[in-house]
Amino acid sequence: MTAIKLTNIDKYFGTGLSRVEVLTNVSFTADLGELSLILGPSGSGKSTLLTIMGGLQTPDQGEVLIDQQNLTKLSPKQRDQLRLNKIGFVLQSYNLLPYLNVRDQFKLVDRVKGKGNLPQAELDHLLTELGIDRLLNQYPGELSGGQNQRVAIARALYTDPQIILADEPTAALDSNRVKVVGQLLKQMAQDHHKAVIVVTHDLRLREFADHTYQLMDGHLTREA
């Protein structure tokens, strides 16, 4: 089932001579239960594409559909709401508030979004699955990079979104850790039935992807 659909997206920054066309005629579809990997060198527009998928930026052309809703037509408030309910972000850094322990990272979500979050039993199961069930009273500053990233993944899954958007989730990790995170992302797609979209320049993640795309000079192409 299609979770998100982008059609003919254009995005440029600046005007006149300083105008940069970052995305040209990009179309993309992601299904629930699949991990899509978008590869591209630094500056190729990966993050820009991800912000457009997440409704953080509006494209200059084209439309973004999530659940028949055209993101470009929503008000900022509605887009906040949509992100809160349907999208989970896993970013390179700053995923966790330094002054909340792991347990409170989830409580914060409860404060803002009262309904539709994972029930306690499922959260416990998820935390055990991620190997962070013993860290509930720890603060982010007390965790390793890998532990932090796993808490961030659990945090993203906690709202039970249909789409997970990950921006360079392995940037700070060594090869062993990359494997673990790659595995987790794949698990999120398959076992938790999410549409997981990962943008990265880290080729080591390739082996975990169901579909791989290349973003180059503003054009998105799907690898055979």
Partner: protein, 356 residues
């Protein structure tokens, strides 16, 4: 509130430091306020205790009672029962025959014992009203300085001795205790002849200027404003208090600004995740209020303790309604200080969360 409290709990020390700072500032504000009111009171308590409504002085006196002299021909032949002649002269009091040299600055107020001030307005706390020419009723302040009923005192270097027969409270003028005597004694101390009958006329109901057309008329409020040093003193205190309040605003603003700066990346991620900005703004405002409230309550407790231990001779007057009002203003200022970080939070672009 959740975020606000969690953050305070996680960084207790910094928040405690700021709270202590706010506490010290609010304590200073309250004490300065107390001193301002206390000194203001010592400037004018006597005037208020007479129920003064209007004051008439010599046209050249510029509102200064002790510089004013009234002659008989400037007054109507009879005064009504709402009018009283008042003579003022500053003196040095010495106790006669004491081993310890007791010397105090005081204000002699000469009164006509048949007029309303002497008859109605001098409420005794001890002793009796003066019956004989050289008996005096004096301010409680002199009792605190060691003077007792029955003590004989000398005013300036005159040979004449006076006897303290009564104490009264709220008899302070120009930050000195008042000694109530007769107009005759006043004439002697002032060194004027019988033609000069008083310094001014005080009335306890509003009287028109036409009542004493050769004199200048002052309302009680303007008369008090013109007391030597009174307005300047109040302005100085007001300026200090206002400035301290602005400082507390700046402290809160800078503190929350720095903390918010440090959290901008996290906040961008939270905004990307769909956490509404109002949730983050609420946390910052709540912290401003918590910091101010804790600081102000601490300041009030210290002020209260100070009042308990201060000797009564120190002219500090705690006015709790005013302190409550200032506390409220401080809390509002704290919230104003939070506006700068609030603005930053509102302007966060969640796109930044992905471009680090």
């Amino acid at each position: 509130m959740f975020l606000a409290l969690k953050e305070i709990k996680h960084a207790k020390f910094r928040y405690a430091l700021i709270t202590v700072m706010i506490m010290m500032i609010s304590y200073l504000v309250f004490i300065l306020m107390g001193m301002m009111l206390g000194l203001a009171n010592e400037n004018k308590a006597a005037i208020n205790s007479w129920g003064t409504s209007t004051v008439f002085l010599n046209k050249n006196a510029n509102g200064n009672l002790s510089a004013s002299m009234l002659t008989k021909d400037q007054l109507p032949s009879r005064l009504n029962k709402h009018e009283a002649l008042v003579g003022q002269v500053p003196v040095v009091v010495t106790r006669v025959g004491s081993q310890h040299k007791l010397k105090e600055n005081a204000q002699v107020i000469g009164l006509d014992r048949q007029q309303f001030i002497a008859k109605e307005k001098i409420a005794l706390t001890a002793g009796h009203q003066a019956k004989e020419t050289h008996q005096v009723v004096v301010d409680e302040g002199l009792r605190a300085k060691g003077y007792r009923l029955g003590d004989r005192i000398r005013l300036n270097s005159s040979e004449q001795k006076y006897q303290i027969v009564g104490f009264t409270k709220d008899a302070k003028l120009n930050v000195a205790p008042v000694i109530y005597t007769t107009l005759t004694s006043w004439q002697q101390l002032k060194g004027v002849n019988n033609r000069v009958v008083a310094s001014g006329v005080v009335t306890d109901r509003t009287e028109p200027a036409s009542r004493f057309d050769q004199l200048s008329r002052y309302t009680a409020a303007t008369f008090i404003q013109k007391l030597p040093g009174y307005t300047a003193q109040n302005n100085t205190f007001t300026f200090m208090i206002a400035f301290l309040m602005v400082i507390s605003l700046v402290i809160i603003a800078v503190f929350l600004y720095i903390l918010t700066m440090q959290k901008m990346n996290n906040y961008a991620v939270l905004r990307a995740q769909g956490i509404p900005a109002k949730h983050l703004v609420g946390a910052t405002l709540a912290q401003a209020v918590i910091l101010m409230l804790a600081g102000v309550i601490g300041g009030i407790i210290f002020t209260w303790i100070t009042q308990l231990v201060l000797p009564t001779t120190v002219p500090i007057l705690m006015n709790w309604p005013i302190i409550a009002g200032i506390s409220l203003v401080l809390i509002i200022l704290g919230m104003l200080g939070a506006l700068l970080p609030v603005r930053m939070i509102l302007k966060i672009d969640p796109v930044k969360a992905l471009n680090n």
